[in-house]
């Protein structure tokens, strides 16, 4: 058996190293390597998918001893929570590589950074060792910092620094929690921590608080979300896509994998507080997005809203007494992560394409573009309606499950459903401002999507519809694990 998980994880960074060793690092060769490596990685993750997962634990485990003295080892594995995220990661990196093929400024460095980020992201989702997880988790920060600082827009230095400090300081408490789990169990094996949560009582609560702080910054939840719009606005398009599509999921993944699974008792006790943060984030994110006229910033804030639903789903799962509703909530929360990655990824790509053409992003600067750039326009309309939760598109099955469980477990929290009207309002307003009405003559020569851009956007649109119409292929994978999750 080939160790596919390790190959998928380290293939990107190896590709990056090979690229650095190449004598010819022209943009053409560089992007060729980048697309080739991310494409191959994507295919490998498909093979991993084909090998499948098992209910009630991790599958496809790869283990090598590393620091036996402290019980840390190189351990990778998958379940129904991480496999969909791995597939999402490899897909978004491939599409970002294709989209970025027009980057010519220090192309080789850019590509190496992206490949390093992919290794870190895949490693974060597949690591089954606390120490290993933390290393991957932190390395991703470095990659994103340089990405924003090096290839971002006007105010990129400050945004990059803010992102870095915020998430770095944010992740220190997680280290403490990991050390706490280690000291009380004598191992860094995450499976040990999950099967028999080592911490109890006040220690568990402290560890939970530490973890929640880290993941709240990453998710991001109100009020520690302020780095997100700043980072998104300044990040290059592919950076935004990876940041929103992949890296925000570190937070929600950690929320389930660490906070819920490793300190279940404390999580249930703190459940209502966590739910409040989820509800506030969902509503606040929607209203803050409504106040924006910068398209990119608006989409960034809707991420706060959508990730708020994920937090709600996880908290409701902990609080629900009916086991069926627990599974519904967790299924919904996990599916929401994937849907958000695909839909928001598509939206950031589309806004990036709009900005490539117009060099502005304010809604008011456009108008009537639908007739001028129909592909771009319809793709945006479809993604916008997906993002506002239209049935038949990706977010609906996820949000339906989260709200269904919420109403039946904690009826008050369902006030967050107001946010779906607010997001509908803000997306319709942006569609009307940018694409409907009389064509703004400034853009009378704007070209529609070219072949490369189609290649990036069409797969995401297909997935948006596929998940919306027939979510079973994805939900069954998630459901297998969630139905057997004990916490």
């Amino acid at each position: 058996m080939l160790p596919l998980l390790s190959i998928a994880t380290f293939l990107p960074i190896l590709g990056g190293l090979v690229l650095m060793a190449l004598p010819d690092r022209s943009a053409r060769v560089t992007h060729g390597v980048s697309i080739g490596v991310t494409g191959l990685t994507f295919l490998i993750t498909l093979a991993i998918w084909a090998r499948g997962i098992v209910p009630g634990g991790f599958a496809q485990i790869e283990e090598i001893s590393w620091i036996p003295a402290i019980g840390a080892a190189y351990r990778l594995g998958l379940d129904g929570l991480s496999l969909p995220l791995v597939l999402l990661t490899s897909l978004l990196f491939l599409l970002s590589a294709i989209y970025s093929a027009r980057v010519t400024e220090r192309a080789a460095t850019y590509v190496v950074l992206m490949l390093m980020l992919e290794t870190a992201s895949l490693g974060t989702f597949m690591a089954l060792d606390g120490l290993l997880f933390y290393i991957f988790f932190e390395v991703s920060l470095v990659g994103m910092y340089f990405m924003i600082a090096g290839w971002g827009y006007e105010d990129r230095q400050r945004a990059a620094l803010m992102f870095f400090l915020y998430t770095l300081l944010g992740s220190l408490p997680l280290l403490l929690a990991i050390l706490g789990l280690y000291l009380s169990s004598g191992s860094f094996d995450m499976r040990v921590w999950i099967d028999a949560p080592p911490l109890t009582g006040i220690a568990a609560m402290l560890a939970l608080i530490a973890m929640l702080f880290t993941f709240a910054v990453k998710i991001p939840a109100f009020p520690v979300h302020t780095w997100l719009p700043a980072a998104h606005v300044q990040a290059p398009t592919a950076g935004s896509v990876i940041l929103a599509g992949v890296m925000l999921k570190f937070g929600t993944y950690g929320l389930i994998r660490f906070a819920l699974q490793m300190t279940p008792e404390a999580f249930t006790r703190a459940g209502v507080v966590i739910l409040v943060f989820g509800v506030v984030s969902a509503i606040y994110g929607a209203f803050a997005a409504l106040a924006q006229s910068d398209l990119k910033k608006m989409i960034a804030y809707t991420s706060v809203n959508h990730m708020g639903y994920v937090v709600m789903g996880v908290a409701v799962a902990a609080l629900a007494t009916d086991p069926a509703m627990r599974v519904v909530a967790l299924d919904g929360a996990t599916l929401q992560m994937i849907s958000h990655g695909i839909v928001t990824g598509a939206l950031f790509f589309l806004v990036g394409m709009l900005q490539d053409r117009a060099h502005v992003r304010d809604m008011g600067d456009f108008g009537g573009l639908l007739g001028q750039v129909p592909w771009l326009g319809w793709a945006f309309i479809l993604s916008a309606f997906a993002s506002l939760g239209l049935p038949g598109l990706a977010h609906f099955p996820a949000e339906f499950q989260v709200f269904l469980a919420t109403l039946n477990a904690q009826p008050w929290a369902v006030v967050a459903i107001l946010a779906i009207v607010v997001t509908a309002g803000l997306y319709l307003r942006s569609v009307a401002a940018v694409f409907l009405g009389e064509l703004n003559q400034k853009w009378a020569a704007m070209p529609d999507l070219d072949r490369r851009e189609m290649l990036v956007i069409v797969p995401l649109l297909i997935l948006t519809i596929l998940i919306g119409v027939a979510p079973a292929w994805l939900l069954n994978m998630i459901h297998t694990t969630m139905a057997s999750l004990s916490f």
Binding site: M162, Y166, Q292, A324, L390, P391, F400, L404, L407, V421
Partner: protein
């Protein structure tokens, strides 16, 4: 099964094919509609001898279901029929539009969603279809997106209905949670408080979709779309969704919910009737009339006679689509639908005007046209309901108003300058003629229909028909003879503004939402500044640390260095250069460390 597939998949596949191929839209569209009609006929034929069901994979433990009972099969047939005629008309109406494929494709997707809603057997399917209808009507209302005001009309239609849809979401969540299944028929066994709460929540959703007071405003603005769209939206589809929802859940509704539904419907029948009477635009008059007729249907549901609502829904579908298609012809001729512009347009086209007039009389409730029978059923239901004291006066007032605004419309179309003779319009006339014929004969099917649904209306001798006819005739006479200023007097300016209270929905919902958004933005700035200030504080801390470095630590270190140099000079004496001496010192050092290490556990 096969008929279910035909009913839903033929419009879907036809619509998608049109959107992909971008050619032959008329032929494909008509073929899709025809096959859908065949499917619906088949459903009606088979549903009589037992329900037809299809179970599809949906969410885990919550499969999607389509179900054809006699009720849903009748509704499916209605949708397919009206859609077929409207499409025929549209082939003429849209003949010159360069973006025909988009129009026909979206229209067929809309029909698909409506069939999905009608045939939905579980709440998820119903919710999904419900919202897809909203989306499709957004696209259709916004079809001429370049024109002024179209974008805002489409946006408004979607937002109004979406806000009300929260009621459907919450109601469905509640019912699924209580019953433990998402199957609609199983959840209808819910009783007690959950049933009341769910009933009221579903009423909110129905008010949004069926444009009931106070959520009626979007429907009149939705006239920005092409006329065939209005004809479809206002008859058997979009607007019908609300009434259909209530008819379907009627067996579950407790008394409190029924009363609320009846009152909302009765008030809408009157208020929207007044708005229609005061309207200065023919299409907007028809739109307000739609709200008022759906109000009458809600009265029937509230009176505990959903079958009366169903009959009126069927009659109204044929009537209202005829009226809109007629108005579309006049619009074609005069390039506008304001009352001034269409004055006399009926006289220029006697054929179309005759159709329009028959439909208008049918809506007013003149025998033997379809509206007469359905309106009688509603009056009878209101009369026998426990809340007759509320419902009957509202129903009769609504009926009088129906006659009045239709009488007024007929008068405007007939009086005035007919102008030059317009050209022939065979396709549009065919589509309209079919629907007018339905408006005439549908009443004959009501008896067998009631039998099929096992819900026969009680007989009332002559009292009810006489009451209904008197109301209809007096309404028509008032509308034809008395100018509207005389009819409404002081109410007129208020009715012309659509009875907007306190600035309407814009002031009550949109502005507060924007204010909250602005508040969030201010908070956001403050949070951002706070973080930056924190950053700056640590930066200045760093700078003072650097100053401390330079002044204190550097000085200390340089001092240390100086002293170390002196110390070194002294230490030189220790380093004698003899190997054994240095070895001894090293050994001693290591020994000290080892002792310290071993001793550590005892010391701590």
């Amino acid at each position: 099964m096969i008929f279910l597939a035909f009913t839903i998949l033929s419009p879907l596949l036809a619509g998608l094919t049109i959107l992909v191929l971008r050619r032959a839209s008329e032929a494909l569209g008509l073929a899709g509609a025809a096959l859908g009609l065949v499917g619906a006929l088949g459903l009606l034929a088979t549903a009589g001898s037992g329900d037809v069901q299809a179970v599809l994979t949906g969410l885990p433990d919550m499969p999607l279901r389509l179900i054809a009972t006699p009720l849903t099969a009748v509704l499916a047939l209605l949708v397919a029929t009206v859609a077929g005629f409207v499409l025929t008309y549209a082939t003429g109406y849209m003949a010159k539009d360069p973006e025909k494929p988009r129009f026909f494709g979206t229209l067929l997707l809309f029909v698909t969603a409506m069939q999905g809603l009608v045939l939905a057997g579980d709440w998820i399917m119903l919710l999904a279809a419900w919202e897809m209808i909203g989306f499709a009507s957004y696209l259709l209302i916004g079809f001429w997106y370049r024109r002024d005001g179209v974008a805002s009309a489409a946006t408004r239609a979607f937002l109004y209905t979406r806000s009300a849809d929260l009621g459907l979401y919450l109601g469905a969540f509640l019912l699924i949670g209580v019953a433990g299944t998402s199957e609609i028929s199983a959840t209808l066994a819910t009783t007690g408080t959950p049933a009341l709460i769910a009933g009221l929540l579903l009423l909110v959703a129905a008010m949004g979709k069926s444009a009931q007071v106070p959520l009626q405003d979007w429907l009149q603005r939705a006239m920005a779309g092409p006329t065939p769209v209005s004809a479809l939206l206002h008859s058997a589809t979009l607007v019908a969704a609300g009434a259909i929802l209530l008819i379907r859940v009627a067996p579950m509704l407790p008394g409190g919910a029924l009363l609320a539904i009846g009152i909302v419907g009765g008030v809408t029948a009157v208020v929207a009737g007044l708005i229609a009477l005061a309207e200065r635009d023919l299409k907007r008059l028809l739109a307000a009339s739609t709200s008022s007729q759906y109000g009458l249907m809600l009265v029937a549901v509230g009176a505990g006679a959903p079958v009366a609502a169903l009959l009126h829904l069927i009659a109204h579908a044929a009537i209202k689509s005829s009226l809109f298609l007629g108005a579309g012809v006049f619009q074609h001729d005069r390039d506008s639908t304001t009352m001034d512009a269409v004055a006399g347009a009926g006289r220029a086209r006697p054929g179309i005007f005759a159709g329009f007039a028959i439909a208008a009389l049918a809506l007013a409730g003149i025998p033997p046209l379809a509206g007469f029978f359905s309106k009688d059923a509603i009056i009878a239901a209101a009369l026998t309901s426990p809340s007759a004291a509320w419902l009957l006066p509202l129903t009769l007032a609504g009926t009088v108003l129906t006659g009045a605004y239709m009488g007024r419309a007929l008068r405007v179309l007939w009086h005035g300058d007919p102008g030059a003779k317009p050209g022939t319009i065979p396709l549009m006339a065919t589509g309209m003629a079919g629907l007018v014929a339905l408006a005439v004969v549908l009443g004959a099917t009501f008896g067998p229909l009631e039998q099929m649904l096992n819900a026969e209306m009680p007989e009332f001798g002559l009292a009810v028909p006489a009451l209904g006819l008197a109301a209809a005739l007096s309404g028509l006479a008032l509308g034809w003879l008395v100018p509207v200023t005389g009819l409404l007097r002081g109410l007129l300016p208020w009715a012309e503004r659509g009875f907007v209270v306190a600035g309407g929905m814009d002031a009550l919902m949109v502005r507060p939402a924007l204010a909250i958004a602005a508040g969030c933005e201010r908070l956001e700035r403050r949070l951002y500044d706070g973080v930056l200030a924190l950053g700056r504080a640590s930066l200045s801390l760093g700078q003072s640390a650097r100053r401390a470095d330079r002044d204190a630590i550097d000085a200390a270190i340089f001092g240390l260095v100086d002293r170390t140099v002196m110390l070194g000079a002294r230490a030189r004496r220790l380093q004698s250069g003899f190997i054994h001496r240095e070895l001894a010192i090293t050994t001693i050092g290591i020994a000290v460390i080892i002792v310290a290490l071993f001793a550590a556990p005892y010391l701590v």
